[in-house]
């Protein structure tokens, strides 16, 4: 089902060892371009570790990660971000010392050129860039419905709004591949539905998304492809329907009553 076009990201036989513990144990999968891929699995399955390997926050023990044809394992996180892989965080990493607007403006960092000197002297180039950044950042805040909060301290926003702010900040970085680490965690039901809509809209705009999520309704609703991990090993991969029918998955992770829709 995935071989129809060249994948945007491929994880090939990746291992990650933490002091004797194999957190990720020879995992391989592809992320097709323009689709939503979900990574699911019980707690401790290695999902977030895998995320951190893709974004360079952890280094790969063995194996390769390729993005758009080139290897990215071994690169620093900011270099991987520059290649177009941008993420959000499960435990929110908002810049609490800045306003919501400024948070999004950090997301625009890679699109800017002005350096220390131009900024301190307020040269024309820096001022023009600054105006452009302001306008762009407001657009992104509008997309996640946070424009009214632009000048508030990001740290004082309610939890659900901080989650949306993280997504706006990530979008501002113009990702080719957007990694969402449990974006629905801690959200209310209506907020989750809004998130669902947002993800579908982004996908329809052509963005490739990798989603780590516990909320099964969300995963099954938006994902084109699901990869299931358990104990650092991939146990299933396929469309949501295929994964739901997979005997391994039902037995090992989802539980026998999952098909009734309770999970």
């Amino acid at each position: 089902m995935t071989g129809d076009q060249s994948p945007m990201l491929s994880v090939c036989g990746v291992y990650k060892e933490f002091g004797g513990l194999m957190a990720v144990n020879g995992v391989s999968f592809n992320i097709p371009a323009g689709k939503v891929t979900a990574l699911i699995g019980p707690n401790g399955a290695g999902k977030t570790t895998l995320f951190n390997l893709v974004t360079g926050h952890h280094s790969v023990t063995r194996g390769e990660i390729r993005f758009g044809g080139g290897r990215i394992d071994g690169l620093a996180p900011h270099e991987i971000a520059a290649k177009g892989i941008v993420r959000t965080f499960q435990n929110l990493q908002i810049f609490g010392n800045m306003t919501a607007l400024e948070n999004v403006m950090v997301g625009l960092h890679l699109q800017g050129r002005s350096g220390m000197l131009a900024a301190s002297l307020r040269l024309k180039s820096a001022r023009m860039e600054e105006e452009e950044f302001h306008a762009k950042a407001r657009d992104y805040l509008e997309r996640v419905n946070l424009l009214s909060r632009a000048d508030e301290d990001a740290g004082s926003l309610p939890y659900g709004e901080q989650r949306r702010l993280e997504i706006a900040r990530a979008l501002a970085a113009k990702p080719r591949l957007l990694l969402l680490d449990e974006p629905a965690a801690g959200l209310s039901h209506p907020e989750t539905i809004a998130l669902d809509d947002l993800i579908c809209k982004l996908r329809d705009d052509g963005l490739t998304i990798l989603l780590v999520e516990h909320d099964m309704d969300l995963v099954m609703g938006v994902a084109d492809k699901v990869v299931v991990l358990q104990y650092g090993t991939k146990i299933a991969e396929g469309t949501p329907a295929e994964v739901q029918a997979d005997a391994n998955v039902i037995q090992a992770y989802l539980g026998s009553d999952w098909q009734a829709g309770d999970a």
Binding site: H57, A82, Q93, I94, M105, H109, M116, S120, R122, E130
Partner: protein, 373 residues
């Protein structure tokens, strides 16, 4: 002129006006002494021209330290080292450049030489900070504090221990270096002290303007992002290590500039202001004024320097037998009080209180009006 106004455009215009007015007014009063008015007499020797020049010089240093500590969140307990390097480079090369390094007399006598040395000192401090900063700034929290502390102590020991070359000594041990010439522009000497006062404040206000422009820019946001969350900053493409090293280098450059200004002001340097105590004093000033606040710099310096002068002149009266060392106790107490009641420093803390107070006032009026209706 338009360019100049743009330089200050990013900042609170009323604040600038107020600070500039204070600087000009105090300068004028000090020089003209209208109807015999004298700050030093009135304040019992606490407010003097000398102190006010020191405030300007240390404001330059503190803007740099606030960028490093307050905005980028990198603890530096050795900042006095770069202040000292600036001071000693200026002192050694302008007072003893001929005898130590064979710089020709005519070059030494030219008005450009001290300025050249000042910028060379800044370049040296910047480079040193960048090279040292790269490995040190990988450390975080307590470890970074310890590493910068170590750096400060090493540099201090180099000043104190003479660095003997061919039997001659360079830094002059505890005596330091004296005979540092005054700064000049052409034939115009920036001295007596009233002239130096205006020069020092011109530099201080300029540095504050640059600092404020910087924090509200792409670079400044990257620095604050590093403080807020390093992993998130990286994920947005900020080269965290490079930005830390750069801001450390910038902080060192400003400290070095302040040091050179200090050397030409005092006409002599000795090692003690650049010891660990010196670094600690800078951190206390920074915390009192407000770490993440450029406006905090002049406030923090002013409060601590006035307090210091006050203690120096009064402590013996209050506590007989108290020595200068007892100031440290007051710093400690002050720091504790500030941390408890205004942890963001006086400027930001007071602003927040003021806003909260205003908001409460509005709410109360709204409530009482609602009651009438």
């Amino acid at each position: 002129m338009k360019n100049l106004s743009r330089l200050f455009a990013n900042t609170n215009a009323a604040g600038w006006l107020a600070l500039t007015a204070i600087v000009l007014l105090m300068g004028w009063i000090e020089i003209a002494a209208p109807s015999g008015f004298d700050f030093a007499d009135l304040s019992g020797g606490v407010i003097t021209m000398d102190t006010m020049v020191r405030i300007a010089i240390l404001t330059v240093v503190l803007v740099g330290l606030n960028l490093v500590m307050g905005y980028a969140g990198q603890v530096s307990l050795g900042h006095a080292a770069f202040y000292g390097i600036g001071a000693y480079v200026s002192a050694i090369f302008t007072a003893r450049g001929h005898s130590l390094f064979g710089v020709s007399q005519s070059v030494m006598a030219s008005w450009q030489w001290p300025w050249f040395v000042m910028f060379a000192g800044m370049a040296f401090s910047t480079t040193l900070a960048y090279v040292i900063g790269k490995p040190i700034l990988r450390l975080r929290g307590h470890y970074l504090a310890m590493a910068t502390l170590g750096l400060g102590i090493m540099v201090y020991i180099l000043f104190r221990e003479n660095m003997g070359v061919q039997g001659d000594h360079i830094t002059g041990s505890y005596d330091g270096v004296s005979g540092i010439p005054r700064l000049r522009v052409g034939e115009f000497e920036i001295w007596p002290i009233s002239r130096y006062y205006f020069f020092a404040w011109l530099v201080a206000l300029g540095v504050m303007a640059l600092g404020m422009n910087l924090i509200n820019s792409r670079t400044g946001r990257a620095l604050r992002a590093v403080h807020g969350s390093e992993v998130a900053a990286q994920a947005m493409g900020v080269d965290v290590a490079a930005y830390k090293a750069r801001v450390f280098a910038l902080g060192a450059a400003l400290a070095s500039l302040g040091g050179s200004m200090y050397a030409h002001f005092q006409a002599a340097v000795s090692p003690s202001p650049f010891s660990f105590g010196g670094s600690l004093e800078l951190v206390v000033m920074s915390s009192v004024g407000g770490l993440a606040s450029i406006w905090g710099a002049p406030f923090g310096v002013t409060i601590i320097l006035f307090l210091k002068e006050f203690l120096r002149s009064r402590l013996r009266v209050l506590l007989s037998g108290a020595s200068g060392e007892h100031e440290i106790i007051f710093y400690g107490l002050l720091l504790i009080v500030i941390m408890i009641f205004l942890p963001e420093g006086i400027v930001i803390g007071a602003m927040k209180r003021w806003k909260a107070w205003q908001a409460r006032g509005r709410k109360e009026t709204a409530l009482s009006e609602g009651g009438k209706a």
